[in-house]
Amino acid sequence: MKINLAVSGLNASDSPGPGLGIIKCLRNQSRFDIRIIGLAYDANEAAIYVREACDEVYLMPYPSAGIETFQKRIRYIVEKAQVNFFLPALDSELTNFLSMEQEFLRMGVKTFLPTREMIEMRSKIKLQELCKKARLKYPKTIEIGNFDQLFSAANKLGYPCLVKGIFYEAVVAHNEATLEKAAHSISSRWGFPLLLQQWVAGEEFDIAVAADGKGNILGMTAMKKMQLTEKGKAWGGMTIHSKGLFECARRLVKHLQWRGPMEIEIMRNEKTDEYYLIEINPRFPAWIFLSHGAECNLPEILLRHVYEKIPSGQIPIIAKPGTMFLRYSQDMIISMSEYERVMIMGELNRDSAPATGKPNRRKQRET
């Protein structure tokens, strides 16, 4: 079956988007014949220029440009690239894509995304409530609306504690000085409220899931983080088989009736052996290629569910334990003509792009 699949999250910095990992999963499956249409917000998103990644690339307006600008651009991309499946990979763009769900249906374009309600229920501010209902542990968390509440809240939790922005960022505060600095830094970017959270010492785990929207897990890859960046992002890890982690994922998927991709971050308290939910992201993680390595290619499983109607409620596909990944960074020489096409025209079609990353010498001589 041929699918023209559009995927975003092509930024490949030290905190990379999931796009390249998703694309690698899709390139490594053989069930579907997939043409990859990359969606980027900036010409500097490195995965645009990875030759084996995207067949076509289109720039999109940032969410701040407004919904109408976004929708207009998406309509153009659907028509030009004949997109028939969208797999958005960034939290901040999901509501924009959801705003076009009905239109996508009319156009014959498929998605498989969580609803707005699901996304809201797993927001940082609602996680405590969610954990209570799903009978999962959640670190003590206090929401503060201004700086006056900062120190008293931290004293209730004790040090170290985590300072979290409402959407992004988390910094460990070890004392009042680092607490104040972190709170000012995060609130200046994301505003209030801030969340102060009990520090759970232990091991970090990450789970990638594809779910059917009816409370069932289609596939699951659980990973122990083995290397972390300064921002706490996984730079290496290994798949594991843990009933405890599976049970956490099962309860969340069932309670939320989750549909589509999901990432669940879990800490295990090293003293009590208890699992604490840290975060849920409504997308695949950047390390999703590990799922392919562990024989549980989650993007493929998602497509199989959508296109081949894998029945809900069957035994989920679970990743093979003991598969390890290490991430590395790479400097890429890119063609200025490709960069120019993305930068000026906002799109790149590899069918018509030069075949190598070398500069076009004839053009150089002419100028």
């Binding site: 594991i240 052996d273 003991g322």
Partner: protein, 81 residues
């Protein structure tokens, strides 16, 4: 509980991978022999016999090695997590 043989992947180099917790351990040749024996469900005396057969040690030393290894193994938390 998952079978120990499914939980652990022990490589010939002595690297032992706990596929439930994601932890790695390393053992020398004797340790690996004991470990694989335990995974295979051997009794303590069988482990001692294996050691004396494969290595140049007497039964007393082998018994001590097996005891020490088992004590160390307790720290691996051989339970479901």
């Amino acid at each position: 509980m998952k079978k120990l043989s499914e939980r652990f992947n022990s490589l010939d180099s002595g690297l032992i991978i706990d596929q439930m917790s994601g932890k790695f351990f390393s053992a020398n040749a004797a340790g690996l022999l004991i470990f694989r024996g335990i995974i295979a469900g051997k009794k303590k005396q069988q482990l001692i016999d294996s050691l004396t057969r494969e290595f140049d040690v007497d039964a007393k030393t082998a018994a001590r090695d097996v005891e020490e290894f088992i004590v160390e193994l307790q720290s691996f938390n051989l339970h479901e997590n």
